[in-house]
Protein backbone atom coordinates (compact mmCIF):
# COMPACT_ATOMS: atom_id res chain seq x y z
CA UNK A 1 0.00 0.00 0.00
CA UNK A 2 2.73 2.45 0.93
CA UNK A 3 4.32 1.97 -2.45
CA UNK A 4 0.99 2.47 -4.18
CA UNK A 5 0.41 5.70 -2.38
CA UNK A 6 3.86 7.16 -2.82
CA UNK A 7 3.97 6.19 -6.48
CA UNK A 8 0.55 7.65 -7.09
CA UNK A 9 -1.22 4.45 -8.01
CA UNK A 10 -3.65 5.13 -5.22
CA UNK A 11 -5.08 8.57 -5.68
CA UNK A 12 -4.77 10.91 -2.75
CA UNK A 13 -5.25 14.63 -2.99
CA UNK A 14 -3.95 15.53 0.42
CA UNK A 15 -1.23 13.32 1.75
CA UNK A 16 -0.09 13.85 5.31
CA UNK A 17 3.19 12.40 6.59
CA UNK A 18 3.35 12.50 10.36
CA UNK A 19 6.56 11.99 12.24
CA UNK A 20 8.02 12.43 15.67
CA UNK A 21 11.33 12.75 17.43
CA UNK A 22 11.86 9.01 17.42
CA UNK A 23 11.68 8.71 13.65
CA UNK A 24 11.93 11.40 11.02
CA UNK A 25 9.48 11.35 8.14
CA UNK A 26 11.62 13.38 5.83
CA UNK A 27 13.22 10.44 4.00
CA UNK A 28 9.73 9.27 3.10
CA UNK A 29 8.85 12.78 2.02
CA UNK A 30 11.86 12.86 -0.25
CA UNK A 31 10.86 9.51 -1.68
CA UNK A 32 7.44 10.89 -2.46
CA UNK A 33 9.09 13.95 -3.94
CA UNK A 34 11.07 11.81 -6.34
CA UNK A 35 8.03 9.96 -7.47
CA UNK A 36 6.12 13.22 -7.88
CA UNK A 37 8.82 14.45 -10.20
CA UNK A 38 7.99 11.60 -12.51
CA UNK A 39 4.31 12.27 -12.47
CA UNK A 40 3.81 16.02 -12.60
CA UNK A 41 5.40 18.82 -14.49
CA UNK A 42 6.59 20.85 -11.54
CA UNK A 43 6.74 20.43 -7.81
CA UNK A 44 6.63 23.40 -5.49
CA UNK A 45 8.57 22.54 -2.35
CA UNK A 46 7.76 24.94 0.44
CA UNK A 47 10.28 24.97 3.27
CA UNK A 48 9.26 26.14 6.68
CA UNK A 49 11.54 23.97 8.79
CA UNK A 50 14.94 23.71 7.23
CA UNK A 51 16.47 25.68 4.47
CA UNK A 52 16.08 24.18 0.98
CA UNK A 53 19.71 23.22 0.55
CA UNK A 54 19.18 20.47 3.05
CA UNK A 55 16.77 18.64 0.79
CA UNK A 56 18.31 19.77 -2.47
CA UNK A 57 21.38 17.78 -1.58
CA UNK A 58 19.36 14.58 -1.60
CA UNK A 59 17.62 15.19 -4.86
CA UNK A 60 18.51 13.03 -7.83
CA UNK A 61 19.84 15.11 -10.68
CA UNK A 62 17.07 14.27 -13.09
CA UNK A 63 14.52 15.60 -10.65
CA UNK A 64 16.17 18.83 -9.64
CA UNK A 65 14.96 20.73 -12.65
CA UNK A 66 11.38 19.93 -11.78
CA UNK A 67 11.43 21.10 -8.22
CA UNK A 68 11.04 24.74 -7.30
CA UNK A 69 12.10 25.45 -3.76
CA UNK A 70 10.50 28.19 -1.73
CA UNK A 71 12.41 29.21 1.35
CA UNK A 72 10.18 30.29 4.21
CA UNK A 73 12.79 29.69 6.88
CA UNK A 74 14.77 32.88 6.62
CA UNK A 75 12.00 35.08 7.93
CA UNK A 76 9.35 32.74 9.19
CA UNK A 77 7.30 35.30 11.06
CA UNK A 78 8.08 38.32 9.00
CA UNK A 79 10.13 40.01 11.72
CA UNK A 80 12.72 41.13 9.24
CA UNK A 81 11.81 43.96 7.03
CA UNK A 82 11.86 42.20 3.75
CA UNK A 83 9.63 40.54 1.27
CA UNK A 84 9.85 36.85 1.80
CA UNK A 85 7.78 33.82 2.33
CA UNK A 86 6.48 33.54 5.83
CA UNK A 87 3.60 31.97 7.72
CA UNK A 88 1.50 35.04 7.27
CA UNK A 89 1.49 34.77 3.50
CA UNK A 90 -1.43 33.52 1.53
CA UNK A 91 0.28 30.51 0.05
CA UNK A 92 -1.92 30.21 -3.01
CA UNK A 93 -1.39 33.82 -3.89
CA UNK A 94 2.30 33.53 -3.11
CA UNK A 95 2.75 30.57 -5.41
CA UNK A 96 0.79 32.23 -8.14
CA UNK A 97 2.86 35.37 -7.86
CA UNK A 98 6.18 33.64 -7.63
CA UNK A 99 8.55 34.14 -10.47
CA UNK A 100 10.13 31.46 -12.50
CA UNK A 101 9.09 28.94 -15.03
CA UNK A 102 5.65 27.70 -14.22
CA UNK A 103 3.99 24.50 -15.18
CA UNK A 104 1.17 24.49 -17.61
CA UNK A 105 -0.40 21.14 -16.93
CA UNK A 106 -0.02 19.78 -13.47
CA UNK A 107 1.82 20.64 -10.30
CA UNK A 108 2.25 19.17 -6.91
CA UNK A 109 2.93 21.01 -3.70
CA UNK A 110 5.06 19.71 -0.87
CA UNK A 111 4.97 21.49 2.45
CA UNK A 112 7.92 20.83 4.77
CA UNK A 113 6.58 21.20 7.33
CA UNK A 114 3.15 22.25 8.44
CA UNK A 115 4.17 22.55 12.08
CA UNK A 116 5.24 26.21 12.00
CA UNK A 117 1.93 27.07 10.37
CA UNK A 118 -0.03 25.31 13.08
CA UNK A 119 2.10 26.79 15.84
CA UNK A 120 2.15 30.35 14.64
CA UNK A 121 -1.23 30.60 13.00
CA UNK A 122 -3.61 27.88 14.06
CA UNK A 123 -4.76 24.41 13.18
CA UNK A 124 -7.99 25.56 11.49
CA UNK A 125 -6.06 28.09 9.42
CA UNK A 126 -3.63 25.38 8.38
CA UNK A 127 -6.51 23.12 7.37
CA UNK A 128 -8.02 25.91 5.29
CA UNK A 129 -4.68 26.64 3.65
CA UNK A 130 -3.99 23.04 2.75
CA UNK A 131 -7.47 22.54 1.35
CA UNK A 132 -7.21 25.71 -0.68
CA UNK A 133 -3.89 24.60 -2.07
CA UNK A 134 -5.33 21.26 -3.06
CA UNK A 135 -8.11 22.80 -5.06
CA UNK A 136 -6.17 25.74 -6.43
CA UNK A 137 -4.76 26.48 -9.81
CA UNK A 138 -1.17 27.64 -9.84
CA UNK A 139 -0.79 29.69 -12.96
CA UNK A 140 -3.21 27.59 -14.95
CA UNK A 141 -1.85 24.29 -13.76
CA UNK A 142 -3.99 21.96 -11.72
CA UNK A 143 -2.72 20.84 -8.36
CA UNK A 144 -2.39 17.10 -8.54
CA UNK A 145 -1.43 16.47 -4.97
CA UNK A 146 -0.50 18.28 -1.78
CA UNK A 147 1.97 16.43 0.41
CA UNK A 148 2.64 17.74 3.89
CA UNK A 149 5.02 16.83 6.66
CA UNK A 150 3.82 17.25 10.22
CA UNK A 151 5.68 16.78 13.52
CA UNK A 152 2.98 15.36 15.66
CA UNK A 153 4.87 15.73 18.92
CA UNK A 154 4.74 19.51 18.63
CA UNK A 155 0.99 19.77 18.72
CA UNK A 156 -1.92 18.78 20.85
CA UNK A 157 -4.30 16.02 19.85
CA UNK A 158 -7.11 18.37 18.84
CA UNK A 159 -4.99 20.12 16.27
CA UNK A 160 -3.73 16.83 14.90
CA UNK A 161 -7.28 15.54 14.58
CA UNK A 162 -8.28 18.57 12.57
CA UNK A 163 -5.47 17.95 10.12
CA UNK A 164 -6.41 14.28 9.93
CA UNK A 165 -9.91 15.27 9.04
CA UNK A 166 -8.97 17.11 5.86
CA UNK A 167 -6.31 14.69 4.73
CA UNK A 168 -7.09 11.86 2.34
CA UNK A 169 -4.11 9.80 3.44
CA UNK A 170 -2.32 9.89 6.74
CA UNK A 171 1.01 8.12 7.02
CA UNK A 172 2.36 7.98 10.54
CA UNK A 173 6.06 7.18 10.62
CA UNK A 174 7.49 5.17 13.47
CA UNK A 175 10.75 3.48 14.33
CA UNK A 176 10.82 -0.01 12.89
CA UNK A 177 10.05 -3.02 15.02
CA UNK A 178 12.55 -5.13 13.11
CA UNK A 179 16.18 -4.20 12.78
CA UNK A 180 16.74 -4.47 9.06
CA UNK A 181 14.03 -2.03 8.04
CA UNK A 182 14.46 1.71 7.96
CA UNK A 183 11.09 2.62 9.30
CA UNK A 184 7.58 1.49 9.98
CA UNK A 185 4.52 3.32 8.84
CA UNK A 186 0.92 3.19 9.78
CA UNK A 187 -1.20 4.27 6.86
CA UNK A 188 -4.78 5.40 6.89
CA UNK A 189 -6.08 5.87 3.38
CA UNK A 190 -9.49 7.20 2.52
CA UNK A 191 -10.55 6.07 -0.90
CA UNK A 192 -12.96 8.12 -2.94
CA UNK A 193 -15.37 5.22 -2.82
CA UNK A 194 -15.65 5.72 0.88
CA UNK A 195 -13.61 2.71 1.87
CA UNK A 196 -10.98 3.31 4.50
CA UNK A 197 -7.86 1.18 4.52
CA UNK A 198 -5.56 0.86 7.51
CA UNK A 199 -2.22 -0.85 7.23
CA UNK A 200 1.03 -1.14 9.05
CA UNK A 201 4.14 -1.74 6.97
CA UNK A 202 7.90 -1.79 7.16
CA UNK A 203 10.28 -0.80 4.38
CA UNK A 204 13.69 0.49 3.45
CA UNK A 205 14.82 3.11 1.01
CA UNK A 206 17.49 2.57 -1.56
CA UNK A 207 20.02 5.09 -2.74
CA UNK A 208 17.56 6.74 -5.02
CA UNK A 209 15.02 7.05 -2.23
CA UNK A 210 12.84 4.41 -3.81
CA UNK A 211 10.81 2.39 -1.38
CA UNK A 212 11.81 -1.24 -1.19
CA UNK A 213 11.21 -4.37 0.81
CA UNK A 214 7.73 -3.41 1.75
CA UNK A 215 6.54 -5.84 4.34
CA UNK A 216 3.15 -5.71 5.83
CA UNK A 217 2.89 -6.16 9.54
CA UNK A 218 -0.21 -8.00 10.61
CA UNK A 219 -2.17 -6.45 13.39
CA UNK A 220 -1.81 -9.56 15.54
CA UNK A 221 0.72 -9.01 18.23
CA UNK A 222 3.75 -10.57 16.60
CA UNK A 223 5.95 -9.85 19.60
CA UNK A 224 4.44 -12.70 21.50
CA UNK A 225 5.92 -15.85 20.03
CA UNK A 226 4.17 -18.40 22.14
CA UNK A 227 5.36 -21.70 20.89
CA UNK A 228 4.15 -24.66 22.78
CA UNK A 229 6.65 -27.34 22.18
CA UNK A 230 5.26 -30.60 23.18
CA UNK A 231 7.79 -32.26 25.37
CA UNK A 232 7.99 -36.01 25.40
CA UNK A 233 6.72 -37.49 28.60
CA UNK A 234 9.69 -39.13 30.32
CA UNK A 235 7.55 -41.31 32.55
CA UNK A 236 5.97 -43.16 29.65
CA UNK A 237 7.38 -46.23 27.99
CA UNK A 238 9.31 -47.47 30.96
CA UNK A 239 9.52 -50.95 32.31
CA UNK A 240 8.91 -49.73 35.82
CA UNK A 241 6.27 -47.43 37.17
CA UNK A 242 7.31 -43.87 37.92
CA UNK A 243 3.88 -42.38 37.98
CA UNK A 244 1.77 -41.74 41.00
CA UNK A 245 -1.92 -42.16 41.44
CA UNK A 246 -3.91 -39.20 42.59
CA UNK A 247 -4.17 -40.57 46.06
CA UNK A 248 -0.45 -41.07 46.20
CA UNK A 249 0.11 -37.54 44.95
CA UNK A 250 -2.08 -36.20 47.68
CA UNK A 251 -0.29 -38.17 50.33
CA UNK A 252 3.01 -36.93 49.00
CA UNK A 253 1.96 -33.32 49.29
CA UNK A 254 1.00 -33.84 52.91
CA UNK A 255 4.43 -34.98 53.99
CA UNK A 256 6.15 -32.47 56.18
CA UNK A 257 9.63 -31.93 54.84
CA UNK A 258 12.27 -31.39 57.49
CA UNK A 259 13.45 -27.86 56.69
CA UNK A 260 10.34 -26.14 55.47
CA UNK A 261 8.83 -23.35 57.43
CA UNK A 262 5.93 -24.69 59.37
CA UNK A 263 4.08 -22.65 61.90
CA UNK A 264 3.21 -25.53 64.18
CA UNK A 265 6.74 -26.86 64.22
CA UNK A 266 8.11 -23.44 64.96
CA UNK A 267 5.68 -23.00 67.83
CA UNK A 268 6.68 -26.37 69.12
CA UNK A 269 10.34 -25.44 69.10
CA UNK A 270 9.74 -22.03 70.60
CA UNK A 271 7.46 -23.15 73.35
CA UNK A 272 9.75 -25.88 74.50
CA UNK A 273 11.67 -24.55 77.40
CA UNK A 274 15.41 -24.90 77.48
CA UNK A 275 15.74 -27.22 80.31
CA UNK A 276 13.71 -30.05 78.94
CA UNK A 277 16.14 -31.75 76.65
CA UNK A 278 17.81 -34.39 78.71
CA UNK A 279 20.32 -36.86 77.65
CA UNK A 280 20.23 -40.31 79.24
CA UNK A 281 23.37 -42.18 78.81
CA UNK A 282 23.50 -45.80 79.63
CA UNK A 283 27.03 -47.03 79.26
CA UNK A 284 27.24 -50.72 78.52
CA UNK A 285 30.14 -53.07 79.21
CA UNK A 286 31.79 -52.44 75.87
CA UNK A 287 32.21 -48.76 76.51
CA UNK A 288 35.63 -47.66 77.39
CA UNK A 289 35.38 -45.56 80.43
CA UNK A 290 38.67 -43.86 80.76
CA UNK A 291 39.06 -41.67 83.79
CA UNK A 292 42.04 -39.87 82.38
CA UNK A 293 41.60 -36.61 80.62
CA UNK A 294 42.48 -37.25 76.97
CA UNK A 295 43.82 -33.74 76.64
CA UNK A 296 46.49 -34.20 79.25
CA UNK A 297 49.23 -34.86 76.81
CA UNK A 298 48.49 -31.77 74.80
CA UNK A 299 51.37 -29.39 74.80
CA UNK A 300 50.13 -25.92 74.19
Amino acid sequence: MIGDITEGREKSKILLVEDSVSQSGRPLLISILHSLCKRVEKVHYICFDREPGFVKACLQSECSSRVIFHDGTSNILGWENKQSLNVNCDLVKYLNDSKGHHASTSVAIVCDSLSPLILHRSAPYTCQTVTKLASAKIQAAEVDQVVCLLHKDLHDNHSINLLHHIATTIITVKPPKFEHFLMATHTLHKRLSGKVIKLEEHFTLNNEYVIQDITEVKSIDTSKVAMETSQPDPTANLTFNLTLTDKEKEARSQVKLPYTYDQSRQDETLTKSVGEGKIFYQPDEADDFDEEDPDDDLDI
Partner: protein
Amino acid sequence: MFTELKNLVSNPNHCMSSKYFIGITEKKVDGSFLIHHFLSYFLKENCRVIFLSFRQALNHFNSVGNKIGNSLSIAKEQGNFCFIEGLKSLAQSVNNGVLCGENPWDQTINNNLVSADKLYMMLQSKIKDVSFKSDKNVVFIIDDISTLLDTGTTVVDTLAVVQYLQHLIIQELGGTLIIGTNDDMGELDDDKNILKNYLHHSVDLCLEVSGLETGYCKDVHGQLTVSWNNTVSREKINQRVAQYKLTDKNCAIFASGMSSAVL
Protein backbone atom coordinates in the same frame (compact mmCIF):
# COMPACT_ATOMS: atom_id res chain seq x y z
CA MET B 1 37.64 21.18 27.32
CA PHE B 2 37.16 17.59 28.26
CA THR B 3 39.03 15.38 25.86
CA GLU B 4 36.96 12.29 26.41
CA LEU B 5 33.79 14.26 25.87
CA LYS B 6 35.20 15.83 22.73
CA ASN B 7 35.99 12.42 21.36
CA LEU B 8 32.54 11.18 22.17
CA VAL B 9 30.58 13.91 20.45
CA SER B 10 32.73 14.87 17.53
CA ASN B 11 31.40 14.07 14.13
CA PRO B 12 34.08 12.81 11.73
CA ASN B 13 32.03 13.98 8.78
CA HIS B 14 31.42 17.46 9.89
CA CYS B 15 33.42 20.20 11.48
CA MET B 16 31.52 21.28 14.55
CA SER B 17 32.43 24.92 14.30
CA SER B 18 30.75 25.55 11.03
CA LYS B 19 27.07 25.31 10.16
CA TYR B 20 26.22 23.14 13.09
CA PHE B 21 23.27 23.13 15.42
CA ILE B 22 23.75 21.46 18.78
CA GLY B 23 20.89 20.87 21.18
CA ILE B 24 21.33 20.05 24.86
CA THR B 25 18.47 18.57 26.82
CA GLU B 26 18.77 18.09 30.55
CA LYS B 27 16.58 15.60 32.27
CA LYS B 28 16.72 16.07 36.01
CA VAL B 29 20.44 16.66 36.14
CA ASP B 30 22.67 19.62 35.73
CA GLY B 31 24.11 19.47 32.25
CA SER B 32 26.08 22.66 32.53
CA PHE B 33 29.34 20.72 32.26
CA LEU B 34 28.53 20.52 28.55
CA ILE B 35 28.34 24.29 28.39
CA HIS B 36 31.70 24.61 30.13
CA HIS B 37 33.11 22.09 27.71
CA PHE B 38 31.86 23.86 24.62
CA LEU B 39 33.00 27.24 25.86
CA SER B 40 36.45 25.83 26.19
CA TYR B 41 36.37 23.75 23.02
CA PHE B 42 35.21 26.45 20.67
CA LEU B 43 37.54 29.06 22.07
CA LYS B 44 40.36 26.62 21.48
CA GLU B 45 39.06 26.13 17.95
CA ASN B 46 39.63 29.82 17.43
CA CYS B 47 36.00 30.82 17.16
CA ARG B 48 34.25 33.89 18.43
CA VAL B 49 31.97 32.73 21.21
CA ILE B 50 28.91 34.62 22.37
CA PHE B 51 27.26 33.18 25.42
CA LEU B 52 23.84 34.09 26.76
CA SER B 53 23.23 32.64 30.20
CA PHE B 54 19.88 32.61 31.91
CA ARG B 55 21.07 30.65 34.88
CA GLN B 56 24.23 32.06 36.37
CA ALA B 57 26.30 35.18 36.53
CA LEU B 58 29.59 35.44 34.67
CA ASN B 59 31.64 34.77 37.76
CA HIS B 60 30.47 31.20 37.91
CA PHE B 61 31.66 30.49 34.38
CA ASN B 62 34.87 32.36 34.99
CA SER B 63 35.63 30.23 38.03
CA VAL B 64 34.97 26.94 36.33
CA GLY B 65 36.76 28.10 33.22
CA ASN B 66 39.87 28.89 35.21
CA LYS B 67 39.77 25.48 36.82
CA ILE B 68 39.64 23.68 33.50
CA GLY B 69 42.23 25.81 31.84
CA ASN B 70 39.97 28.08 29.86
CA SER B 71 40.37 31.69 30.80
CA LEU B 72 37.24 33.52 29.78
CA SER B 73 38.59 36.85 30.94
CA ILE B 74 41.55 36.61 28.61
CA ALA B 75 39.31 35.53 25.76
CA LYS B 76 37.13 38.51 26.50
CA GLU B 77 40.05 40.89 26.39
CA GLN B 78 41.06 39.49 23.07
CA GLY B 79 37.58 40.05 21.76
CA ASN B 80 36.87 36.37 21.31
CA PHE B 81 34.32 35.99 24.04
CA CYS B 82 31.19 37.94 24.75
CA PHE B 83 28.90 37.27 27.68
CA ILE B 84 25.27 38.33 27.68
CA GLU B 85 23.84 38.55 31.17
CA GLY B 86 20.57 36.86 30.54
CA LEU B 87 19.77 36.23 34.18
CA LYS B 88 20.11 39.83 35.20
CA SER B 89 18.58 41.35 32.10
CA LEU B 90 15.62 39.02 32.10
CA ALA B 91 15.12 39.66 35.81
CA GLN B 92 15.18 43.38 35.16
CA SER B 93 12.81 43.14 32.25
CA VAL B 94 10.11 41.06 33.86
CA ASN B 95 9.93 42.65 37.26
CA ASN B 96 8.39 45.99 36.52
CA GLY B 97 11.61 47.90 36.81
CA VAL B 98 12.17 46.92 40.41
CA LEU B 99 15.76 45.88 39.93
CA CYS B 100 18.38 48.57 39.92
CA GLY B 101 20.69 49.37 37.17
CA GLU B 102 20.45 49.91 33.49
CA ASN B 103 18.71 47.26 31.55
CA PRO B 104 20.29 46.51 28.20
CA TRP B 105 17.09 44.74 27.27
CA ASP B 106 14.99 47.76 27.88
CA GLN B 107 13.91 48.00 24.28
CA THR B 108 12.60 44.48 24.25
CA ILE B 109 10.01 44.98 26.92
CA ASN B 110 6.47 45.26 25.78
CA ASN B 111 3.68 45.18 28.29
CA ASN B 112 5.81 43.60 30.98
CA LEU B 113 6.92 40.83 28.76
CA VAL B 114 10.08 40.29 26.84
CA SER B 115 8.91 40.60 23.30
CA ALA B 116 10.32 37.75 21.25
CA ASP B 117 10.93 39.64 18.03
CA LYS B 118 12.62 42.52 19.78
CA LEU B 119 14.70 40.12 21.81
CA TYR B 120 15.82 38.49 18.60
CA MET B 121 16.62 41.81 16.99
CA MET B 122 18.69 42.80 19.95
CA LEU B 123 20.58 39.51 19.91
CA GLN B 124 21.02 39.78 16.18
CA SER B 125 22.67 43.16 16.37
CA LYS B 126 24.95 41.97 19.17
CA ILE B 127 25.93 38.89 17.25
CA LYS B 128 26.57 40.85 14.09
CA ASP B 129 28.71 43.30 16.04
CA VAL B 130 30.86 40.52 17.38
CA SER B 131 31.22 38.69 14.11
CA PHE B 132 31.87 41.79 12.13
CA LYS B 133 35.30 42.19 10.58
CA SER B 134 36.34 38.74 11.58
CA ASP B 135 36.83 35.65 9.55
CA LYS B 136 36.44 33.51 12.62
CA ASN B 137 33.43 31.30 12.96
CA VAL B 138 30.78 32.50 15.32
CA VAL B 139 29.44 30.27 18.06
CA PHE B 140 26.32 31.34 19.89
CA ILE B 141 25.37 29.52 23.06
CA ILE B 142 22.26 29.75 25.23
CA ASP B 143 22.43 27.60 28.33
CA ASP B 144 18.75 27.29 29.13
CA ILE B 145 16.23 28.88 26.84
CA SER B 146 13.31 27.37 28.75
CA THR B 147 13.74 30.09 31.39
CA LEU B 148 11.91 32.31 28.93
CA LEU B 149 8.95 29.96 29.24
CA ASP B 150 9.05 30.21 33.02
CA THR B 151 8.80 33.96 32.97
CA GLY B 152 5.89 34.15 30.62
CA THR B 153 7.14 33.99 27.04
CA THR B 154 4.96 31.66 25.02
CA VAL B 155 6.45 28.50 23.65
CA VAL B 156 5.58 29.61 20.15
CA ASP B 157 7.54 32.82 20.56
CA THR B 158 10.47 30.94 22.02
CA LEU B 159 10.50 28.54 19.06
CA ALA B 160 10.42 31.51 16.73
CA VAL B 161 13.51 32.95 18.39
CA VAL B 162 15.25 29.61 17.98
CA GLN B 163 14.34 29.40 14.32
CA TYR B 164 15.50 32.92 13.60
CA LEU B 165 18.74 32.30 15.46
CA GLN B 166 19.19 29.12 13.49
CA HIS B 167 18.87 31.02 10.26
CA LEU B 168 21.12 33.85 11.39
CA ILE B 169 23.94 31.83 12.90
CA ILE B 170 23.98 28.82 10.62
CA GLN B 171 22.73 30.05 7.27
CA GLU B 172 23.86 33.64 7.22
CA LEU B 173 27.00 33.51 9.32
CA GLY B 174 27.94 29.89 8.80
CA GLY B 175 28.62 29.38 12.47
CA THR B 176 27.46 27.08 15.21
CA LEU B 177 24.43 27.41 17.42
CA ILE B 178 24.08 25.65 20.76
CA ILE B 179 20.82 25.78 22.64
CA GLY B 180 20.06 24.09 25.92
CA THR B 181 16.74 23.38 27.50
CA ASN B 182 15.41 21.23 30.25
CA ASP B 183 13.01 18.35 30.02
CA ASP B 184 12.70 17.32 33.65
CA MET B 185 9.03 16.52 33.65
CA GLY B 186 8.67 15.15 30.14
CA GLU B 187 5.10 15.21 28.98
CA LEU B 188 3.88 16.60 32.28
CA ASP B 189 5.11 20.02 31.24
CA ASP B 190 3.50 20.59 27.85
CA ASP B 191 5.34 23.69 26.80
CA LYS B 192 8.79 22.50 27.76
CA ASN B 193 8.07 19.22 26.07
CA ILE B 194 7.22 20.98 22.83
CA LEU B 195 10.35 23.07 23.09
CA LYS B 196 12.46 19.97 23.62
CA ASN B 197 10.84 18.16 20.70
CA TYR B 198 11.27 21.15 18.46
CA LEU B 199 14.97 21.32 19.25
CA HIS B 200 15.30 17.62 18.66
CA HIS B 201 13.71 17.97 15.22
CA SER B 202 15.93 20.88 14.27
CA VAL B 203 19.44 20.06 15.49
CA ASP B 204 22.34 18.24 13.91
CA LEU B 205 23.70 16.96 17.20
CA CYS B 206 21.46 16.18 20.13
CA LEU B 207 22.93 15.71 23.59
CA GLU B 208 20.63 14.38 26.24
CA VAL B 209 21.90 14.41 29.77
CA SER B 210 19.93 12.36 32.22
CA GLY B 211 20.26 10.68 35.55
CA LEU B 212 20.68 6.98 36.08
CA GLU B 213 17.64 4.76 36.27
CA THR B 214 19.05 3.19 39.37
CA GLY B 215 19.41 6.40 41.26
CA TYR B 216 22.27 8.33 42.74
CA CYS B 217 25.69 6.83 42.49
CA LYS B 218 28.94 8.36 43.64
CA ASP B 219 30.90 6.97 40.74
CA VAL B 220 28.55 7.60 37.90
CA HIS B 221 26.85 10.94 37.86
CA GLY B 222 24.66 10.41 34.89
CA GLN B 223 24.13 9.31 31.37
CA LEU B 224 24.78 11.08 28.12
CA THR B 225 22.92 10.11 24.95
CA VAL B 226 24.51 11.48 21.80
CA SER B 227 22.45 11.47 18.61
CA TRP B 228 23.77 12.65 15.30
CA ASN B 229 20.58 13.60 13.58
CA ASN B 230 20.30 13.51 9.89
CA THR B 231 16.65 13.75 9.15
CA VAL B 232 17.05 13.01 5.46
CA SER B 233 19.22 10.03 6.03
CA ARG B 234 18.22 6.66 4.70
CA GLU B 235 19.99 5.07 7.59
CA LYS B 236 19.15 4.64 11.18
CA ILE B 237 19.80 7.44 13.60
CA ASN B 238 23.37 7.23 14.76
CA GLN B 239 23.31 7.17 18.51
CA ARG B 240 25.70 6.50 21.36
CA VAL B 241 25.01 6.22 25.02
CA ALA B 242 27.71 6.75 27.59
CA GLN B 243 28.01 7.50 31.25
CA TYR B 244 29.94 10.28 32.84
CA LYS B 245 31.46 11.31 36.10
CA LEU B 246 32.43 14.84 37.00
CA THR B 247 35.36 15.81 39.12
CA ASP B 248 36.58 19.23 40.06
CA LYS B 249 38.45 19.71 36.81
CA ASN B 250 37.33 17.05 34.46
CA CYS B 251 34.59 15.00 32.98
CA ALA B 252 35.29 11.31 32.57
CA ILE B 253 33.30 9.39 29.99
CA PHE B 254 32.88 5.66 29.96
CA ALA B 255 30.60 3.06 28.49
CA SER B 256 27.80 1.80 30.68
CA GLY B 257 29.07 -0.60 33.25
CA MET B 258 32.65 0.36 32.62
CA SER B 259 33.13 2.86 35.39
CA SER B 260 36.45 2.42 37.12
CA ALA B 261 34.61 1.77 40.32
CA VAL B 262 33.11 -1.32 38.80
CA LEU B 263 36.12 -2.66 36.96
